[in-house]
Structures are given as structure tokens and as C-alpha cells.
């Protein structure tokens, strides 16, 4: 059962999935990915949260300020604000669940944000295809804009309609937000710490190349910037994440 509600004076939107086990002590707080990746993973993360609650732990998802169902506009968002939103989501998750052990599950840039959090109740980090470098991520976003421009251009050619001379941006990001995103990276001390962090990567090269022992490839590859359309439910990835929550 999913319980949606607004919190933080109705600024933020959250969805709580209560554990079937009344003695559950863990709550998984999901830091979602951004922009189009949020759209593509929404159902997957919703199903994962339900599976976590059915297997016996609590799960809490939320939207950063200026994104999805939370209040505000993207033009007003900053990375400092989003980090503060994660802290508030953790406090809210603890308050609604009564759990005292928080697993922070970060997806893509959600992992980059999650890795900055220093909260006494966060005992584990679990990352799905983490963005290691904000600098690189901003380049990826620019690549997506270039892909979209190119797709519109070839569609115009193919359809024999004039190509529009406009800004081909997926999202118009405010400069302060872009600067803040560029500055963030996942500290190696977090990523390399098997007692603290585990990574699930759909890049088959990631685990061997990074030399991480606390890393798994679920047997399914996915190219995040390229597959811009469609909605994904990557069962092997979700199973790998679920297994880690219950280790």
C-alpha cells in the first residue's frame, strides 16, 4: 500500500510504503534520478518500494523541490536546496515509519546527491548507476540536448517540414543549478567502503574498471543518455537492489 502525502509545510511530495513486518527497523529512502531519467524509472522505483515493504522493510520516496509533484519550479531549484530536501525526507521517513536505520538509495544523480548526506541515521548507501562526477553528468545532459536537436532535425528532413530555429533543450536549467551540479561528485571514501556502500551498475565495464568489491552487474546493460524515450522496468536491477536491502 502506497501512502502519498505532502510534507515540509506542503513543499515536498512523498510516498510511504509501510513494512508488512511490524518490527521492521529499516527504512529505504529513495533519492530519485533527475529530469528524463526520473520519468523513465518512476514505475520501477514505485514497484521496488512496494516490494521492499512486502519483504518486510519500509520505503519512502519523495520529489526534490521544483521537480515532479513537489512545489516550485525547476528555475528556482539549487543543489543546496535538494540536499536539504533529502535531509527532510530522511527525517520524515523516520517519523512516519518509526525505523531508526536508514538505507539511502540513490539512482543516477540521486546517488551523487545522496553521497553528500551526513545524517546519523543513514547506515547504508545503495546506488543504482551512480553518476560519479557532476561535471560529466552536465556533459551528458548537453549530449542529450544535442541528440534531441539532431532527432528533430532529421525528423524535419524526413517529414519535409521546415526545421524550427529554437533552443533544443530538454530542460532549461538555471545556471546556478548547473554550477552546483558540476561541483558535486561521489567521494571515493563512500564508494569504496564495502561496509557503507553497495553499487548496482548496468554498465558491464563499471565494476571491473572501478576495482570495487562492493559492486554488482545484474546482467542487463543500459545506455542512459541514448535510450531517451520509453519507460523502463529493469527487473534484474530491481532484484539486485532488493537483495542488497535485505542482506
Amino acid at each position: 500500500m502506497i501512502e502519498p502525502f505532502f510534507f515540509d509545510d506542503s513543499r515536498l511530495f512523498g510516498c510511504y510504503s509501510s513494512a508488512m513486518d511490524p518490527n521492521a527497523e529499516k527504512v529505504v529512502v529513495v533519492c530519485p534520478p533527475l529530469f528524463d531519467e526520473y520519468r523513465r524509472t518512476y514505475r520501477a522505483l514505485s514497484e521496488l518500494s512496494v516490494a521492499i515493504s512486502e519483504r518486510g522493510n519500509h520505503a519512502f520516496r519523495f520529489d526534490y523541490y521544483g521537480t515532479a509533484e513537489s512545489q516550485g519550479l525547476l528555475s528556482e531549484a539549487t543543489t543546496e536546496g535538494w540536499l536539504s530536501d533529502i535531509e527532510k525526507a530522511i527525517d520524515e521517513a523516520i517519523a512516519v515509519s518509526g525505523a531508526n536505520h536508514v538505507v539511502l538509495l540513490g539512482v543516477r544523480f540521486g546517488a551523487t546527491l545522496a553521497a553528500q548526506i551526513n545524517h546519523a541515521s543513514v547506515k547504508d548507501f545503495l546506488f543504482w548507476d551512480p553518476v560519479l562526477s557532476g561535471e560529466r553528468y552536465v556533459e551528458w545532459l548537453n549530449e542529450i540536448d544535442a541528440i534531441l536537436r539532431q532527432r528533430h532535425q532529421s525528423a524535419a528532413r524526413e517529414n519535409n517540414v521546415p526545421f524550427e530555429n529554437i533552443e533544443y533543450r530538454n530542460f532549461d536549467l538555471p545556471p546556478e543549478l548547473v554550477t552546483g551540479m558540476r561541483e558535486l561528485a561521489i567521494p571515493e571514501s563512500t564508494l569504496n567502503n564495502p561496509g557503507l556502500c553497495f553499487t548496482v551498475s548496468t554498465d558491464p565495464e563499471f565494476c571491473p574498471n572501478s576495482g570495487l568489491s562492493n559492486c554488482a552487474y545484474p546482467g542487463l546493460s543500459y545506455d542512459w543518455p541514448y535510450y531517451h524515450d520509453g519507460v523502463i522496468t529493469q527487473k534484474p536491477v530491481l532484484e539486485a537492489l532488493l537483495d542488497r536491502v535485505f542482506v
Binding site: 500500500m1 505532502f6 517529414n159 519507460v231
Partner: protein
């Protein structure tokens, strides 16, 4: 200042949505924003959230909602899509009536959302308005000629004619057809009866329709006004507004296109608000 609150519906109130309400909800029509394809209720690209809030600013009650099996609403295993959507709709209406009483209803839908909107409207007299993004359109008498002309005058086609011929030959000799011959293969589109019933009833109810067509629909829609003329229903023209954006992509992946879309819908909604308020809910 608008307000937002959680909306639930269904057998166990498992269906989930979010309501955006104007300051004064008295007499406000309700616009229900359905899922686009498999995307959840806020999407694509937060379009439904920003549009819902904009409609509430204008004086509509806007509900963005996850149908069963989408976003945060659990799936029903034993029903067809049509049956499940119809059941969702009846539950949603009950929940909305509890909150606001009977109101004129509008449906906003992109892609399968538009298909669902038409099918529901065909059956439900309380639906007085439709905002449809890339709905199915019948072809009028001039469609094939325009399509041929578009192809013949396309320099890109001529430059790549060898590739096109080779691809066609391969398809013919392999005996295989593409898994999806057209994007419509993914959709549970309304049938002729749904289309006739929906738009004839909207004429009778003096409802209002906004239909937006993007590049996705070029294989069945290629001229502004085609939808209305091909439907051939007396009295449809005064109640429908068509918009044709052959440069925009189906899910409005470009921010400029989304802003243009929200502006167009807001203008249309503003223009028709007073009229929609006068229509009797059934």
C-alpha cells in the same frame, strides 16, 4: 493561490492522484489529466503537473491521476485495458462527486490518454470537453494526395531512394514484417463507433474540444482542419479547435514546445471556462 491535495479512488482507494484546486472551487469544471502511455501522472517531463497548476490558476479543478497499472496505482490483472479504464473512471467520478458534487468534466490526454478520453466520452454524458494530444484522426479525401506530394517534393527522399528501395526489397523477400508496423500498434485506439459517439455527443452537449497534432501523427494527419472535415459531423466545427505542430515530437521533449503547448491549452481553457461552467452536469 491554488491548493493541492492527495486524491484516491478505487476498490481499496489504491488509485492515486493529485488535485490542484483554485481558491474558489464553486462551479469549477473538473479537468482530469490521464496518463500518457506508460508514464506516471506527472509526466511527460512534468507537463501534467505544470498544466494542472495552470488550469487551477484559471479556475478549473485539475486532477492528474494514475490509472491502474501506471505510476503509483496497482495493476488489475484480469481485465482488458478498456474495461480497466472504464472501471477506474467510474471510481474516479464517485470520489470526485463526493468531494465536489456533480460537475462538468473535461479530459486531457496525450497518446493513449487521448484514446482513453475519446472512449470514455463516448459513454459518459458528463464529459463536456476534451483536450487531445495526438489523437487518432480519420483521413479525409485529400489526405493521400497531400501525402504523395509531401513525399515527392522531399529532396531527402530522392537522395536516399536507393536505401528506401533496398529496405523495401529486403522486407518483401524476408517474408517478415516489422514487429510494430506503426506507433498505433502499441495503442488501444478508439474504434469508429467510439469516435462517432464521442464527437456527436459533444456536439449535442455543446461541449468543447482542443486537438493538437504533432509530427507523430503525420502518417494519418497532414493538414490543419483535417480531423473535423474527416469526421463529417454537422456542428463539430464550431466546438473544435485544431492545432498542427509538425515540428514537435509526440512527448514534447523540448522545453520550448512544452511551454508553447501549456500556453495554447491555457488560452483555450480560459476562453471556454465561462461556457463550460454553464453546462449542466449529468
Amino acid at each position: 493561490m491554488i491548493k493541492e491535495r492527495i486524491f484516491t479512488y478505487g476498490e481499496h482507494q489504491h488509485g492515486i492522484g493529485v488535485l490542484s484546486e483554485p481558491e474558489d472551487t464553486f462551479n469549477s469544471p473538473i479537468a482530469v489529466l490521464l496518463n500518457a502511455g506508460l508514464s506516471h501522472r506527472a509526466e511527460p517531463y512534468r507537463l501534467n503537473v505544470l498544466l494542472g497548476r495552470q488550469l487551477a490558476e484559471l479556475g478549473y479543478i485539475a486532477l492528474r491521476v494514475d490509472l491502474s497499472g501506471k505510476g503509483d496505482s496497482p495493476a488489475r490483472e484480469t481485465m482488458t485495458n478498456r474495461e480497466s479504464v472504464a472501471l477506474d473512471w467510474s471510481f474516479m467520478k464517485k470520489s470526485l462527486e463526493k468531494l465536489y458534487g456533480s460537475r462538468p468534466l473535461l479530459i486531457f490526454g496525450l497518446c493513449s490518454g487521448a484514446d482513453n478520453g475519446i472512449k470514455l466520452c463516448a459513454q459518459d454524458p458528463s464529459i463536456k470537453g476534451l483536450i487531445l494530444l495526438d489523437p487518432v484522426s480519420r483521413q479525409d479525401a485529400g489526405f493521400a494526395k497531400r501525402e504523395l506530394l509531401r513525399k515527392l517534393t522531399n529532396p531527402n527522399k530522392w537522395l536516399n531512394i536507393h536505401k528506401v528501395v533496398s529496405r523495401r526489397l529486403k522486407q518483401n523477400t524476408s517474408g517478415e514484417s516489422s514487429l510494430l508496423n506503426s506507433p498505433m500498434d502499441l495503442r488501444d485506439e478508439p474504434n469508429d463507433n467510439d469516435m462517432d459517439q464521442c464527437f456527436e455527443s459533444l456536439v449535442e452537449k455543446d461541449g468543447r474540444v482542443l486537438a493538437v497534432f504533432t509530427s507523430q501523427t503525420l502518417y494519418h494527419y497532414n493538414k490543419l482542419g483535417q480531423f473535423t472535415s474527416a469526421m463529417g459531423i454537422n456542428g463539430l466545427e464550431p466546438i473544435i479547435e485544431e492545432v498542427f505542430w509538425p515540428n514537435a515530437k509526440h512527448i514534447f521533449s523540448i522545453e520550448v514546445h512544452r511551454q508553447r503547448l501549456i500556453g495554447t491549452i491555457a488560452d483555450w481553457a480560459n476562453k471556454h471556462l465561462d461556457h463550460l461552467k454553464t453546462l449542466q452536469p449529468e
